[in-house]
């Protein structure tokens, strides 16, 4: 039974607790949570004996009481947290992306611990269904992936409206489905003209062998506009369409007719955790997940450059250069 220390639970607390009570081959034994009330609530729900206010405290005082650390932070800069976990040879699950410097350091593992970078968008039911069809050979060779993601609820920090935050998860999903770095990158900002405000951007990628992807990301406060997501994968033998439009029910009342989007829920984090735990149990290599983070960040950097310059960027020698 792998002993997990979890932290940075954030707003997913109650749903996460449901998942964490029912993990195979793992048990939550420690919690890191700065908010006192939330710490008490989750600790009670999961009967967790060890609860610390921050990761340093946990590592200092309870390092021998857990095997793996799981951070649900969307922060991207983990730095010291990862260093402490590596020092103590702890297995580690963090949400992607991670900053390029940390990714470069983690690309050369020195201990016996496993480090997995996971991506919430990959783990959601839509993407898992598409990937399973692809892996089963039902869709043939991937030819085109088209993504629309408006007003994502992936937990973007309120004070971070960067381009990276707007598009990195979608870029990762597309690269994951093609299992490749894009050979060609082009991007156009939406009408605001200023990428830093991240109103929206359209990304156009060309993959080796001629595959292609279009990603359209828009971000406005959800108070103004609800979220919407769709992903189409067109393959040489079949196609998959994962679309909120197909998954809307109707509400009819005195206000008229409105749509009720059927939520994909938050239990995708169970898939993330099960994947991590089984990888540890199986001794499965996880370095690919770190390199996937480097890939996503490199593509995002090319997107930013392309949108600013108005030109296309080509992958050359492991980096993106203007065409």
């Amino acid at each position: 039974m792998i002993r997990l220390a979890i932290g940075d639970v954030g707003s997913a607390g109650a749903d996460l607790a449901l998942v964490l009570r029912d993990l195979r081959s793992a048990q939550v034994v420690a919690l890191v949570e700065a908010d006192q009330d939330r710490k008490s609530e989750i600790a009670d729900q999961l009967d967790i004996g060890v609860a610390a206010g921050d990761w340093n405290q946990l590592f200092e005082s309870h390092a021998d009481e857990f095997d793996a650390v799981v951070s649900f932070s969307q922060s991207m800069i983990f730095g010291e947290f990862i260093e402490r976990a590596v020092e103590r040879d702890k297995h580690m699950l963090v949400n992607g992306p991670i900053d390029p410097k940390t990714a470069a350091a983690l690309a050369k593992p020195t201990g016996t611990n496993y480090i997995m970078v996971t991506w919430p968008l990959r783990m959601m039911p839509y993407q898992q269904a598409v990937r399973q069809s692809l892996d089963a050979g039902q869709l043939g060779l991937p030819g085109l992936v088209r993504v629309h993601h408006w007003n994502s609820t992936l937990g973007q920090p309120a004070d971070d409206d960067s381009l990276t935050r707007l598009v990195v998860h979608e870029v990762d999903v597309v690269c994951w489905l093609f299992d490749a770095w894009p050979a060609l990158v082009y991007a156009t900002a939406m009408r605001t003209g200023d990428l830093n405000t991240s109103q929206g951007v359209q990304i156009h990628l060309g993959f080796p062998g001629g595959g292609m992807a279009l990603i359209d990301c828009v971000n406005r406060p959800t108070s103004e506009s609800p979220p919407y997501f769709s992903l189409s994968m067109i393959g040489s033998q079949g196609a998959a369409y994962a679309d909120d439009h197909h998954n809307i029910n109707l509400l009819l009342n005195e206000q008229g007719v409105s749509g009720l989007a059927v939520d994909q829920g938050r239990l995708h984090c169970r898939t993330q955790l099960e994947d991590f735990v089984s990888a540890i149990s199986d001794g499965r290599k996880m370095e690919d997940s770190v390199s996937d983070s480097r890939r996503a960040m490199a593509v995002v950097a090319a997107i930013e450059a392309a949108a600013s310059s108005g030109g296309a960027y080509r992958l050359q020698g492991g980096d993106y250069e203007p065409c």
């Binding site: 085109l144 088209r146 060309g206 292609m212 393959g235 369409y241």
Partner: protein, 372 residues
């Protein structure tokens, strides 16, 4: 030529070559204002073309003449409907316009830009009406255009169209042996007439961007009214041996940079029968400053399932679709009132320019400006 003094007068139609799908002349003739006067083609056309033309004339119970000039002068036609192989579209349209006929033409406009220019010039010089056939009066497309025009989503910031045809176009890639000859384009398209999938009929091979690109680009135009300034495209033959052997695309994506800073895109392809239960996933996604729209072009539709349903019959039937009648009706009114047609020669030419800039971008991997 105007019939403004007699708005209900029947309008005789000369059908100039109907060697591929015949839905355009049928669509026009379904309107009571239009009636067939003659079917015609140039005498030097191959016998298979004459056979198809003759069969159509026989069905309509009108003469078939092996002379376009005779059809234009001797049958009192006021409108010409052109459904020939694509490389002849513009020449037939120009000849009809020069004879004083209004013109309804099949897509694509042409295979050559200078031919499009000839049509624009001939239509203007002769003061006749021109309409490129389109799907802009589908109920869902009209709903999208109305919602935008009514300001329901504020100002348009982005517009995206998916236009996938879930149809096969011959055998899949890797289905012929390496030492077998490449598949012949014209031969295959002649055979495809049986299924109606012969929109690319002609000597010159054409990819999906060229054959069908007008439809999504026309949707974008009817919603925004704006022109495309620059494109970036990726295109390839991903499904079919025919397209691969003839170096044209059956899958394409295009980023559009438009007037007023609007961003657009189209994704299109002939993606194979297996990839959708109906004709294909055709959708509009429109982002505005105050809201967004997600529109399924197929709706309204009714689902019908029954034992033994052939694979060639789609389970979802489009209903309340009066696109063809509305196109014909608007064309009649354009003639009667000297107004504009739903897709005139200038817009059709711009769509052609956009498609060809996209083809060039797909080959180079670079963004390409759309000529003005």
């Amino acid at each position: 030529m105007s019939l403004a003094n007699s708005p209900l007068e029947p309008i005789p139609v000369a059908i100039l070559s109907v060697v591929k799908h015949d839905y355009i002349p049928r669509g026009m003739l379904a309107h009571t204002r239009f009636h067939a006067a003659v079917v015609a083609d140039d005498p030097e056309q191959p016998e298979w073309a004459h056979e198809r033309n003759e069969a159509f004339a026989e069905e309509l119970k009108v003469p078939y003449v092996r002379s376009v000039e005779s059809a234009l002068s001797d049958y009192d036609a006021k409108v010409a409907v052109v459904s020939s192989a694509a490389e002849r579209h513009c020449d037939l349209s120009v000849r009809a316009a020069n004879a004083g006929l209004h013109v309804v033409q099949d897509k694509p406009m042409s295979t050559v830009l200078t031919e499009c220019d000839r049509v624009v010039e001939a239509v203007e010089r002769n003061g006749v009406k021109f309409m490129m056939w389109n799907r802009n009066f589908l109920p869902a497309v009209q709903q999208a255009a109305s919602a935008v025009a009514d300001g329901k989503i504020g100002k348009v910031a982005a517009i995206h169209v998916d236009f996938y045809f879930a149809k096969d176009a011959g055998p899949p890639i890797s289905s012929r042996a390496d030492d077998d000859p490449p598949l012949d384009w014209l031969e295959y398209l002649i055979a495809a007439h049986a299924t109606g999938a012969d929109g690319g009929l002609g000597h010159k091979p054409m990819g999906e961007l060229e054959v069908e690109g007008i439809y999504p680009l026309a949707y974008i135009h009817v919603v925004t009214g704006l022109r495309v300034r620059r494109v970036f495209a990726r295109a390839k033959a991903h499904f079919h041996q025919l397209q691969l052997d003839n170096d044209v695309d059956d899958l394409a994506t295009v980023t559009l940079e438009m007037d007023n800073g609007i961003v657009g895109s189209i994704c299109m392809g002939r993606i194979g029968n297996a990839s959708h239960p109906d004709i294909g996933e055709i959708k509009l996604h429109i982002v505005g400053t105050e809201g967004s729209l997600v529109i399924s072009e197929a709706r309204p539709e009714v689902s019908v399932y029954y034992r033994g349903r052939p694979d060639t019959i789609y389970p979802h039937l489009r209903v309340a679709n009066h696109n063809d009648w509305l196109l014909a009706d608007h064309f009649a009114r354009a003639i009667d009132e000297d107004g504009d047609t739903p897709l005139n020669a200038h817009v059709a030419r711009h769509i052609f320019e956009t498609v060809h800039a996209a083809i060039a971008s797909g080959k180079s991997g670079l963004p390409v400006d759309v000529e003005r």
